[in-house]
């Protein structure tokens, strides 16, 4: 029968072993996998600023990107190719209460033209990030 000492060894040994494997995989992901999949060389200052604006305005408090965020507003990973630049510009600049399709309201923002450009660069970069097939093509189509 298992003793307490053996159980403790199982806990500590297993934890240390799997944590070390995880750290190794993390290093590999951060230094090789992610830079490749995300075309890290294409992250310009404009993309960086767009990402900062994404964070500062808590866009993932309503939207998802790469499937992460809240489920109140559309997934935006491929919004650049799906809707196009002009549509995004219209949404970000909407006044008189802000964008509100089908009664669901988006916060009204007061972005400068440059800020809007940066957010669009961020989405343009995001459009080409490789995500193992996410978002999936609808399997039965419209």
């Amino acid at each position: 029968m298992l003793t307490k000492k053996q159980a403790k060894a199982f806990f500590i040994g297993g934890t240390v072993l799997f944590f070390l494997i995880f750290v190794g995989m993390t290093v590999n992901s951060l230094t090789v996998g992610i830079p490749q999949n995300t075309n890290a060389d294409n992250i310009t200052d404009s993309v960086k600023h767009g990402k900062l604006l994404w964070d500062q305005n808590n866009c993932m408090g309503c939207h998802t990107i790469m499937g992460e965020g809240a489920y109140y507003a559309p997934e935006l990973t491929r919004v650049y190719s799906r809707k196009g630049e002009n549509y995004i510009r219209t949404v970000l600049n909407a006044k008189n209460g802000g964008w509100g399709p089908r009664g669901r309201k988006m916060v009204e923002y007061d972005f400068t033209t440059e800020e809007v450009d940066d957010i669009i660069s961020f989405f343009e970069w995001m459009d080409n990030v490789y995500l193992n097939g996410f978002p999936a093509e609808p399997s039965i189509g419209e």
């Binding site: 999949n37 009664g103 309201k105 609808p138």
Partner: protein
């Protein structure tokens, strides 16, 4: 209660009750918004409501953990808490930082990273606060007459909780890297070290409530937390399928997260077996109910409903939909919220000397809140499945699918009302205990008839 310094736990539990009430209010705001009644949009837009809802959850659970530690560590180590004035300072600074953070979300002072929205300057205050807390706990543990496994597992869980906050404090320009490190915090918390804390508190409760021999309980505690890390650490991979990481995470994350329910199943079997082996005459029935429900509902919410969407082929379609909300609600409720309510139900009679442990309101609280939360989970499941089929499989626009799920949010609000009534009963009971008192010192021999 063995030591007068254990009374400090009451402060943390009372704060938990307050924050839980607020969390529910923000939940209703979001439920109504999903139904089309976003009437507070001008003042509390959805992204402010969701940041508040999630962070109140994290803070009230952590406040509950801290209260639990302040109660359990002196008891287990057989000594007074190292410093009560510092513990009070730690409490008030926690409360103030919490209130400032929540108020800040309403004026856009946040980081916009799910679950870690607290802005950087406050992060440092949180870190200092948690370090102070750990110093008090560790000093108590070391000056104690004995150092039990239960106390160690609980303390280690709290130490790792603090250490794992750090990767979330680094800024990254690449959103994919940002997300990767964010899960280092959030996943390794809730599917890793928080389970250590859960294991520690559960074994404390089981030792006290069932009277089963400590050595037996603590042996299985090691096995369970061992299983947790065996599956949970590499199980982090289920967050890395579709966020820009290498494709090997599909395989590694898939296999190990499929094993994660085993740890929760282990917790369930552990608690049920100890209950069956143990003496069933303990008078604190409410604490026993909450302890057992923690062990069972955590398996349903975290284990089974997690498994329901964790395999890569399923997750490709469910990732980023209301299916996640379904899993998240029952998982947090079963594993962590119920756990905090269990330790409160156990310790409040001992701290105050008022023997409220088998009353009608307490049972109503238990059944209303659990049934309400199961109903909410089913409403989220229905909405989530509908969303997946309409949006992800049939290719309709997001808002077309959202229109169709409004009815499910009506059901959600009904179920949430049942849940809220339950929590109302719980809080009513909580405050009817009154304040903790030194008169309650060693006043409850009937609570430990089984330890002799």
């Amino acid at each position: 209660m063995k030591f007068t310094s254990q009374k400090i736990a009451y402060h943390f539990f009372a704060l938990s009750m307050l924050l839980l009430s607020l969390q529910i209010v923000y939940g209703f705001i979001m439920g109504f918004a999903h139904m089309g009644y976003d009437v507070l949009h001008e003042w509390i837009p959805f992204n402010a409501a969701t940041a508040t809802h999630k962070n109140l959850l994290v803070v009230w659970i952590i406040s509950g953990f801290m209260g639990a530690a302040y109660y359990i560590i002196p008891d287990e180590s057989d000594t007074e808490l190292w410093s009560v004035p510092l513990a009070k300072l730690q409490f008030w600074s926690l409360a103030i930082v919490g209130v400032v953070a929540v108020a800040g979300f309403h004026v856009g002072w946040w980081e916009g990273r799910k679950f870690l929205e607290i802005p950087r300057p406050l992060d440092f205050l949180v870190a200092i606060n948690v370090i102070l807390f750990l110093v008090i706990i560790l000093m108590t543990l070391f000056k104690g007459k004995k150092q039990t496994t239960t106390a160690w597992v609980l303390t280690m869980g709290l130490v790792f909780l603090a250490l794992l906050y750090l990767p979330g404090m680094v800024y990254f320009d690449n959103i994919s890297v940002d997300s990767f490190m964010r899960w280092w915090v959030v996943h390794l918390w809730v599917e890793g070290v928080w389970e250590l804390i859960m294991g520690g508190i559960l074994s404390f409760l089981l030792i006290k409530l069932t009277g089963v021999d400590r050595e037996v309980i603590e042996k299985w505690l090691y096995v369970i937390v061992g299983l947790t890390f065996l599956s949970g650490i590499l199980g982090t991979g289920h967050h890395y399928y579709y966020t820009g990481g290498p494709d090997y995470w599909l395989l590694v994350g898939g296999i190990f997260s499929a094993l994660e329910p085993l740890a929760f199943l282990g917790m369930t079997i552990f608690a049920v077996q100890m209950y069956r082996k143990g003496n069933k005459s303990h008078p604190n029935k409410l604490a026993l109910y909450w302890t057992m429900s923690t062990a069972i509902v955590s398996f349903l919410g975290a284990g089974l409903l997690g498994l329901a969407h964790t395999l890569p082929g399923v997750n490709l379609y469910t990732h980023g939909t209301l299916i996640t909300a379904m899993h998240g609600h029952l998982a947090f409720w079963g594993a962590y919220a119920s756990l905090v309510l269990a330790i409160m139900s156990y310790s409040m009679p001992l701290m105050t000397g008022r023997k409220i442990y088998d009353n009608r309101n307490g049972h109503l609280a238990f059944w209303f809140s659990n049934i309400g939360m199961l109903g909410m989970t089913m409403a989220f499941a229905a909405a989530g499945v509908a969303q997946v089929y309409l949006e992800r499989i049939a290719g309709y626009e997001f808002m077309v699918a959202a229109e169709e799920t409004k009815a499910h949010f009506f059901v959600l609000i009904i179920a949430a009302t049942v849940f809220t009534i339950g929590i109302g009963f719980f809080i009513g009971n909580f405050f009817s205990f009154g304040l903790p008192s030194d008169d309650a010192l060693n006043d409850a021999p009937e609570f430990e008839p089984l330890l002799a």
